[in-house]
Symmetry: C2
Subunit: 360 residues, 2 copies
DNA sequence: ATAGTCATAGACAGCGCTGTCAGGCTCTTG
DNA sequence: CAAGAGCCTGACAGCGCTGTCTATGACTAT
């Protein structure tokens, strides 16, 4: 497992050479200092930019660092500076959430964190809120980002209690003191209603998330729904709302009931991303052409997914990348920790799945 | 012993909660020791179980720990023990991979790591192989798990060079010295062929991954294909293989060509999970019933996904959970680091999407 | 020319924990 | 009853780095 003989001795080349060094001992800051002919603290300062170092010295130190391939020991830094440079990301374990979006956010968080010279530690809800207490309490992480925030999320209490830097992706009932970022789902709902109203639709259906989602954390699902319904009312659209579980048969049932209850429905707004594919298939096989007979507007899928469907979907995407980056910015950036709620404006991408209603 | 120097009282967990506690100073091991009337090293031993502690002492210490809500400082432990108790998980950034499976594996890795009292650090390919060098070199992580391993993966060289504990999910061209775990895709391909042959099919098509996947890292995709084709030959099946990109139109084109080139095709094996939904829809809308007219066997989707389709899919699932757990076991478990290749046997779940060929 | 100022580098004391070591204790045995 | 054998425990020396404080030198202004 270990590298038997390093090609060059990483220790002081002018000092006594000890050939018996089985483990590939990591270079220390002290060795770099000796190599550069400066004191350890100078090296530390060069690395952290904590004080003015004259260019020649900085260069010498830099050269020594490169030459020795020096990497500072993370634990030692964390101990001495009481900063771990690690952000904990609490990801959901839910089955009824759209996974690709979560993954995209997680990746966005990771790349954004790296830009701030931080790493990302994954914690799942498996441990429950105690996981947060653990990583924050041990100093493993010095910031926490919560995903899939519920309206009354028990993790929030832990965050407040610990006073740890944190940001939320999602909007709880009481965001007091905690920075949050989320898509403005109410505006998204309204935007969807507007688009359909503008096209001339008069009777529309909102196919939402599974019932469990509404029951549990009415957050984004409920916001979308009410934003949509309010705007429908304003624009004189008749709207119905139907929750939809993430199963093919569930989608089939919902779709059948929609056209049974409201045969005049000419447009569907779909929030449960996992069901868009099946719904399109069902519409097709029931002889309804999209968008000639019925328009479909999706809320939530990412751009590429929407463009890969057939027909290409008119949709309001989830800005996964933005959400991740903003969350990191809120917790590590300039104005880190300043509470505040950022609602990202929804953007409607019009493609081929919406059109004027038949005979419209 | 108890100098009044520490008149700074320890918070009573049952007392009123004071929201104004700007510096929630963390308890240290020394404080616990004082509180329990023992020496710091004794407390350390109680925590790490490094030596025999008499039950009464252990109990006193345990009580003090609980009472003070003590959590050891991760950085200090890492420094003193040169073990970070962190596993780095290198996740892919690819767009052409099935994301839900990746997420499931990541979650399995995380829960398994927790069982070994480790945490998981996320690193993306964004940093390239240098990310691995960084987390291992700084002692941030003391083990690395690679996902989405390519046949000739440049990250493997870094792993070998650093001599860091590692395990791979996937199978590179040369796994020498590195423990690997993967689904036995060749066996999966053979199993698929057997199932279809048993049902009486004579002419079948394999709809594979996107061409890029074959070009880049022929690993699992190529293994599946050859396992399938070899077995088809043995069983006297006529088989064709078609790569399939992850777009609706791509799937449509592939499907059309399959039936054009081989009108007698009665069964499809699909490996590109993202395209299963679209393919089922296309079959339906082209008037082919599944499984009456054509059988469909999926390789890769997880059980729940397969059961949510309509019809429920006969499939060989990717054992995401097992893969994650095994990978952790290989790198942290009893026989950690022992190189060896674990090929998980494929399991075929027969549901409704396969049947005898028409007129069979 | 001399005192005062600033810029720069070094010394040093920890950060909180681990792990080794030797010593003190009780218990056993001749 | 005394000496040997174990079992616990406390003392102690770092792990590698940070950050503050002080010392040194060069430079400016009088």
């Amino acid at each position: 497992m270990q590298h038997p003989a390093a090609e060059h001795d990483l220790r002081d080349p002018h000092g006594p050479y000890d050939p018996y060094q089985p483990p590939p001992k990591a270079t220390t800051l002290a060795e770099v200092a000796r190599h550069a002919g400066v004191s350890p603290s100078t090296v530390s300062c060069v690395i952290n930019g904590k004080r003015n170092i004259s260019p020649p010295t900085r260069l010498r130190v830099q050269a020594a660092i490169d030459e020795l391939g020096y990497l500072p020991h993370a634990g030692a830094r964390a101990l001495a500076s009481s900063k771990s440079r690690i952000v904990a990301l609490a990801v959901p374990l839910r089955a009824d959430l759209y996974v690709p979006a979560m993954m995209q956010i997680a990746i966005a968080v990771t790349t954004a964190a790296r830009r701030h010279d931080h790493d990302v530690l994954l914690i799942t809800n498996h441990e429950g809120p105690e996981g947060i207490r653990r990583v924050a309490g041990t100093g493993l992480a010095d910031a926490v980002i919560l995903m899939d925030v519920e309206l009354h999320d028990e993790r929030i209490a832990v965050l407040r209690e610990l006073g740890v830097a944190a940001s939320l992706i999602g909007l709880p009932a009481d965001p007091e003191g905690l920075p949050c970022v989320d898509l403005d789902f109410a505006a998204a709902g309204a935007l969807a209603a507007d688009h359909l109203a503008d096209l001339g639709h008069r009777q529309v259906a909102f196919i939402g998330m599974g019932e469990g989602v509404y029951r549990r954390r009415t957050g984004f699902a409920e916001r979308t729904r009410s934003g949509f319904e309010d705007r429908c009312r304003e624009r004189g659209l008749r709207a119905i709302h139907r929750p939809c579980d993430s199963t093919y048969d569930g989608a089939a049932g919902v779709l059948a009931r929609v056209f049974e209850d409201r045969p005049g429905t000419t447009a569907l707004v779909v929030q449960n991303e996992a069901m868009i594919g099946p719904l399109l298939g069902l519409l097709r096989s029931s002889g309804r052409e999209v968008p000639q007979d019925v328009s479909v507007l999706a809320i939530g899928p990412d751009e590429p997914a929407a463009r890969q469907s057939s027909p290409r979907l008119t949709s309001i995407g989830l800005p996964a990348h933005d959400l991740g980056h903003r969350a990191v910015e809120l917790v590590l950036g300039e104005n880190a920790g300043e509470p505040g709620v950022i609602m990202l404006p929804p953007r409607l991408a019009v493609w081929e799945s919406t059109a004027e209603p038949p005979g419209g």
